[in-house]
């Protein structure tokens, strides 16, 4: 049976979902739209049920892209996801507003179970419900009380699912009920007034409130957490802790994954019979997969913290205190999470913008999110910093290299905010942005829910980024493996002879040959073709090749340089690569990697949209190629200009 799970945000809907389905959850798409469809299966006396978790809404009438799917599915009984049964989760401590959605669903005459969740909280607030009396007001519907956070009431709910009649309901709560069109404001307003009137009549009958004058705990906590000074200090401190984890502690598992894949690909190229197919696996596919998986620790950690903050109710306060600051920039308080996520990876960041109900604010957030320095830029930054920034202390205690790294992150952030402000002027829209956000009461987070969120985000990242990065890795491998005619073979042969003359060791000569072959491959030719364009930035064709290959993912830049300069990659520190790059000279004898060209490259990587996976996700989220192309355009222009100016100033 197909069951829809509906409910207001912050009612513990996902706890109910997790309670029923456990880990048997999947993410798919609703047909025709890009909203994620979260569904899970569970068995009940040998019958399999599919539970679809709809986005949390206050009404069937949507106010954001995410919420529209509820309206689309429920108003159309031919829709493939139209449910045979609906479960509406309601916060018992706040029934009035929660019953609004429930009565709407009831009036659609879909068999429905009302889950009164957070029974514990309601009791604490001195509210109690006469459930039989409430059930009487909704003939055909069943009402179950749960505290899903601790798994209480599961049996009762399962029993209700099994015993409820699957026939369409015959009664209506609000006699005039009909589904208004989305643009019928007047109709929706009348419905709201009359529905709330009816709900209050019922509630007066079935709900008793022992009035408690004591201030709720949330109110006391909010005095500190939204305080003009402490509020920001606390948020800042939390950010520091998160970044400490993402940057310092995630490095260990990342190095481990990196090492495993490097070894594996080396082992493969030794063990597999020589040939094109083996090369494709050991040099194209395996490193491609490794390049995706290496980011899992950072992404998992970041989403662990975000889920924790969300579960506890704190995240809504962050939105509350940041909204006024973000608004002049064309952003929304809700843009904070997407921008924060983008520091790990822009892909989950762009997807996190779906909660922003205002189209313009959401679009601006998507467009600027990739300017935040993501984890794939770190290997590029660290290589270049080690290469051209001296190990010095400034002002007595600041490490110059660290300072430059911090500067690059700041540059990305500042650019994101300035571009956002600019886009605010450029993007025209009829509608005005709005916030309307519930500040839920504080709760201790449920680790199960946090774990499941992290698992889901990682899965989405691996899948979305993975397929694009893998595809590009294969294309780039082909471009680097083949060249026009027999040009590569000829070059390889002469390189081999040259290596013999120089009496190079076996390994060195192999690398020398590989480097020569790369130079004569299609990608080498493309790099050379690019040289006139990037010369004003201080780059040569070898850097050009690496710029092209790093379209798969920015960190590929480092690996490409290693191949081009024919040095063995030695992980973490890249000592050999750095030494080799230092000795690289131009025709006139000056070093290729000077302070000017190195800094110019860093600035280029701060701004450039060197990530096909993000572009693909932006295309999916905005449903057209227009926005990703605009994004690539302005980021590219910014990168080129920024790098050019940097080079000009420093040389």
């Amino acid at each position: 049976m197909k069951i829809a799970l509906l409910g207001n945000p912050n009612t513990g809907k996902s706890s109910v979902f997790n309670m029923l389905t456990g880990l048997r959850q999947q993410v798919g798409n609703f047909p025709g739209v890009t909203v994620d469809k979260k569904f899970g299966v569970f068995n009940l006396s040998n019958e399999e049920h599919t539970l679809i978790d709809f986005p949390g809404t206050y009404s069937i009438y949507p106010r954001s892209k995410d919420e529209q799917v509820v309206y689309d599915v429920l108003k159309n009984d031919k829709h493939p996801d139209y449910p045979e049964l609906a479960i509406v989760v309601a916060d018992e401590s706040n029934l009035e507003r929660n019953l609004f959605l429930f009565t709407q669903v009831y009036d659609l005459q879909i068999p429905v179970i009302l889950v009164l969740n957070m029974a514990d909280l309601a009791k604490k607030n001195g509210k109690s419900i006469n459930i039989p009396a409430l059930e009487e007001a909704f003939p055909g519907a069943k009402i179950v009380e749960t505290t899903a956070r601790v798994g209480m009431g599961k049996e009762r709910l399962l029993q209700a699912i099994q015993s409820i009649s699957k026939e369409k309901l015959t009664e209506r709560f609000y006699a005039n009920a009909r589904i208004c069109d989305l643009d019928d404001s007047k109709g929706q307003e009348t419905e709201a007034t009359e529905r709330y009137g009816l709900i209050n009549t019922i509630l007066n009958r079935v709900q008793t409130t022992s009035s408690t004058k004591s201030e709720p705990t949330s109110n006391k906590l909010d005095r500190i957490l939204v305080h003009p000074i402490f509020g920001y200090l606390i948020f800042g401190a939390i950010l520091m802790i998160i970044f400490q984890f993402i940057f310092a502690f995630a490095a260990y598992p990342m190095d481990f994954i990196d090492g495993v894949f490097a070894d594996f690909s080396a082992w493969l190229s030794q063990e597999l019979p020589t040939g094109l197919f083996s090369d494709l696996i050991s040099q194209g596919i395996v490193p491609g997969i490794g390049g995706v998986l290496v980011f899992i620790p950072q992404i998992a950690l970041l989403f662990f913290f975000i889920a924790l903050l969300e579960e506890s109710g704190y995240l809504a306060r962050v939105v509350f205190i940041m909204d006024r600051i973000m608004r002049p920039l064309g952003l929304n308080g809700k843009s904070v999470v997407p921008l924060l996520s983008s520091v790990a990876c822009a892909i989950p960041g762009v997807m996190a913008t779906r909660t922003i109900s205002d189209w313009k604010e959401r679009m601006i957030t998507i467009l600027v999110a990739p300017l935040m320095s993501c984890s794939a830029r770190i290997p590029v930054y660290t290589l270049l910093i080690a290469l051209v920034i001296p190990k010095q202390t400034v002002f007595g205690f600041l490490n110059l290299q660290g300072l430059v790294l911090f500067g690059l992150y700041t540059l990305g952030l500042v650019a994101a905010l300035l571009i956002a402000a600019l886009l605010k002027l450029l993007i025209k829209t009829r509608e005005k942005g709005f916030l309307l956000l519930e500040l839920p009461s504080y709760k201790s987070p449920r680790w199960g829910n946090v774990g499941i969120t992290v698992w889901e985000k990682v899965k989405v990242f691996v899948w979305d980024a993975g397929k694009v990065i893998l595809a590009i890795s294969i294309i780039l491998w082909a471009l680097a493996t083949f060249g026009p005619g027999d040009r590569m073979e000829k070059a390889a042969l002469s390189a081999k002879n040259h290596a013999k003359e120089l009496k190079l060791s076996n390994e060195d000569s192999e690398r020398f040959v590989a480097s020569t072959k790369l130079e004569n491959s299609y990608i080498g030719i493309m790099g050379k073709g690019l040289e006139p364009v990037i010369k004003p930035l201080g780059y040569d064709w070898k850097i050009g090749i690496s710029l092209i290959t790093s379209f798969a993912a920015r960190e590929v830049f480092v690996g490409s340089l290693a191949t081009i300069y024919a040095v063995q990659e030695d992980g973490g520190e890249n000592k050999r690569l750095i030494d080799r790059m230092r000795s690289e000279k131009r025709a006139d004898g000056t070093p290729v990697y000077s302070l000017a060209s190195g800094a110019s490259l860093m600035v280029f990587y701060v701004f450039a949209m060197q990530c096909m996976a993000t572009l693909a996700v932006v295309k999916r989220e905005t449903k057209s190629w227009k926005w990703p192309l605009i994004q690539m355009g302005f980021m590219g222009a910014l990168a080129y200009l920024g790098a050019f100016i940097t080079y000009l100033i420093l040389s």
């Binding site: 206050y58 009404s59 009438y61 106010r63 916060d91 401590s93 706040n94 009035e96 507003r97 609004f100 607030n125 509210k127 404001s185 929706q188 307003e189 709201a192 007034t193 709330y196 201030e215 949330s218 109110n219 909010d222 005095r223 939204v226 305080h227 003009p228 509020g231 920001y232 809504a316 939105v319 509350f320 205190i321 909204d323 006024r324 600051i325 608004r327 308080g333 509608e431 005005k432 709005f434 916030l435 309307l436 956000l437 519930e438 500040l439 839920p440 009461s441």
Partner: protein, 82 residues
């Protein structure tokens, strides 16, 4: 005499009178802000915007622009606890 909700000081209890016609009107009403509803302004964000109000047991935050659409009457005997 009705006033805009955006001009009400934290701690004050007011009654919703009416909402100015706008795209947001049905959304505000769905959130429970219907005529006759008692709401209490709880606190304001650091720059005075957005504000947080108590709507019958839950806390709703809205921007001053949005609160400006809502006309309220001061409730009789409104006591202040903030």
């Amino acid at each position: 005499m009705s006033k805009a909700l955006s001009s009400i000081k934290p701690g004050q209890l007011v009654t919703v009178c009416c909402i100015q016609d706008s795209e947001l009107k049905p959304k505000l009403m769905e959130m429970g802000l219907i005529a006759g509803k008692e709401v209490r302004v709880l606190f304001r964000a650091p720059f005075g915007d957005p504000i947080a109000i108590d709507v019958h047991g839950y806390v709703l935050s809205l921007r001053l622009d949005e609160a400006g659409l809502i006309q309220v009457n001061e409730s009789i005997g409104s006591e202040v606890f903030a």
